[in-house]
């Protein structure tokens, strides 16, 4: 049994970033991301991490600064939440189109208004199509591990795309959890020093960020889409290599009790943990129910997802954001579209829940299940609205 320590997940995140030996950190504090940047600035102040910690005046400048530092070949890091992501979102898109392998932790929090510092996924869903590789992790160990995995993926010359690690604000970021802090010697074997493919340097002048006339814009977008789709096998390999070193293997989708299930819950992030408890209780009652955690959101793992859910009667998608006036929650809408061409496609129920920090309990998941299989629940709706 490897040695495990109890640590607040935010501090574990900072510890992992330190062990990635990043060169530049630019971040602006925002709840609930603050503990990560506080701890990183301590590491730099105490000489434990030789990096530039740049306390920028906004998230917009945090992302812009990271573009500058990545462009000259520095392994860079930022993290944010909610409004911070919304403010920097203009530049988030450009980071991907410049093919800069930045890693960002997004500690998920709802978007205003009304203002709420608590957790849901309305921040990340607003930048769904920003062109980044987007991962959802669901416990402290996964947060820690994915710092290394993400740089490994991003800096792979077959990828060269930024990676966003999503994890839930407060309900994960502020939890104390037991975890194994992988030793630097192991990490050294896994994550080589950053070897940038293109850098800004006077010895070999390059132009980055040229603009595109209509004659080339479509081709630039096609190339970007291809790059994101083609990152998939590289992501699988990065997970495989990590598993070989640490014994912890990760998959784009992860099923529990899905083999014989008639109904499957689909969760992103830490809600999978509680939903798993509900599934266990329902199984004990004799229900044929399972759980699917979607760890990889972009590129969307179409085949791996379809393999698990084809032939299943119902999917209960736990959405954590509202698509106002749209076709259900953003995840459910996407899953319906992804499954549409399957001959044997499941019914998809969209339960928008856990907005702005509202707890979703085991009983709530059981109520969703009952509602879906009895046909009493609406196909799309916001769950648990109080009268």
């Amino acid at each position: 049994m490897k040695k495990r320590v109890g640590l607040e997940v935010s501090y574990a995140a900072a510890e992992a970033v330190k062990r990635c030996n990043v060169d530049v950190i630019a971040a602006y504090p925002i709840t609930p991301q603050t503990h990560i940047v506080e701890r990183l600035s301590e590491f730099v102040a105490n000489g434990e991490l030789d990096a530039a910690f740049v306390p920028v005046e906004s998230e917009h400048s945090a992302m812009s600064l990271c573009i500058g530092s990545q462009a000259v070949g520095a392994r860079s890091f930022t993290c944010t939440s909610s409004q911070g992501l919304a403010l920097m979102s203009e530049i988030v898109y450009i980071t991907a189109s410049l093919r800069l392998p930045l890693v960002m932790m997004l500690v998920n929090r709802s978007l205003s208004g009304p203002l709420s510092i608590w957790n849901d996924h309305s921040d990340v869903m607003a930048v769904r199509d920003c062109g980044w590789i987007q991962l959802f992790v669901r416990n402290g160990q996964e947060v820690f591990d994915h710092a290394f995995i993400s740089y490994k993926i991003a800096e792979d010359h077959g990828v060269l795309l930024p990676v966003m690690i999503n994890f839930d604000g407060f309900i994960l970021s502020h939890m104390f959890e037991p975890m194994e802090l992988v030793e630097p010697a192991v990490i050294e074997r896994y994550l080589p020093p950053y070897n940038p493919k293109y850098v800004l340097h006077p010895d070999q002048p390059l132009t980055m960020g040229a603009f595109a006339m209509p004659a080339v814009f479509t081709e630039a977008k096609k190339a970007q889409d291809e790059a994101l789709r083609q990152s998939y096998p590289h992501i699988l390999r990065a997970w495989q290599d990590w598993g070989d070193l640490t014994g912890r293997y990760y998959d784009p989708v992860e099923g529990f009790w899905t083999e014989d299930a008639e109904t499957i819950f689909v969760a992103l992030g830490s809600f999978g943990e509680t939903a798993g408890e509900a599934v266990k209780a329902l199984r004990e009652r004799g229900e044929q129910v399972g759980l699917l955690n979607l760890r990889l959101w972009r590129p969307f793992p179409f085949e791996a997802f379809a393999r698990v859910v084809e032939g299943v009667r119902n999917l209960i998608v736990l959405d954590r954001a509202v698509s106002y006036g749209g076709p259900g929650g953003p995840v459910a809408g996407e899953i319906r579209s992804a499954l549409y061409n399957l001959e044997n496609r499941p019914q998809v129920y969209s339960f928008v829940s856990g907005l702005g920090g509202r707890d979703v309990t085991v009983q709530d998941y059981m109520a969703m299940f009952t509602g879906a299989i009895s046909g009493e629940a609406p196909r799309d709706g916001i769950f648990g609205v109080r009268g």
Binding site: D23, D50, V54, L65, G68, A71, G73, I94, L98, G209
Partner: protein, 313 residues
Amino acid sequence: MNDAGLYAVKSLPKKEYLAPGHRSCPGCGEVLAVRLVHKALGRNTITASATGCMEIVSSPFPLTSWEIPWIHVAFENAAAVAGGIEAALKVLQRKGKIAPKEINVVAMAGDGGTADIGLQALSGALERGHDFLYVCYDNEAYMNTGVQRSSATPFGAHTTTSPAGTAVPGQITWKKNMPEIVAAHKIPYVATATPSYPLDLINKIEKGAAAEGPAYVHILSVCPTGWGIGSAETIKIGRLAVQTGFFPLYEVEDGAYKITVDCAELLPLERYLQPQGRFRHLSEELIAQLRRRVFEQWAELKRRAALSASAAR
């Protein structure tokens, strides 16, 4: 006017870092300024550019006019991008990941990208003390999108969003004083320049690049298209801006003010205003208001320069 300066230009390096074939308008004062700035900086330079005229004329993929490493990201963040370049070069050299080398880190933006949408990023980068040079190419409106007003548009000027109408006589606000706002950050070097005085401009860029910490050079960039003048008038109009006191050339070095192109007597303001289409509608009364402001500004600058000179003694 120092006429020797006119001929001294011939002694400048021939090497261009902004190659010909770019798409600027004929007589563009800004592109001339960009060329002079980069001649002064030399090849060991990395430039981060804001969105704007200079970005559009120089980088239509797959072409580029840039012979130095150059990056464009967005409109309002040139200072932040340059800050990232500077921070990274420093740490990469310290960690031995790249060879030590003196590299000038430069941010460039127009007046919109500096005084309006980019002001926050600029202020943040100055306050944090990045060792970089910020160059504002001020053509006094959003020229790239079709001559809309900015906060650097002078009082009275006609633009497409401050049109000279029957009820409102063009821009009714006073030009934001960017060099003073920057100087309030107490950075080592702040200056104004214009390509009509090329040696003065080059000296200032060299000083700014050599300064330890942030430096800022605000360059009046005459825009024939937006100002309503002939494309052969650029240099002359730039000179008149200085000689009438409309755009004084000065520098603030470690807090000390110095007028670098002094005028024993300011030329009549009309000589600057009259040739420009953007001011053609101005009434005597509006011109009088402008004149008052120019005199006040000039007197204040003279006072500060005199104070600095006496403090130095």
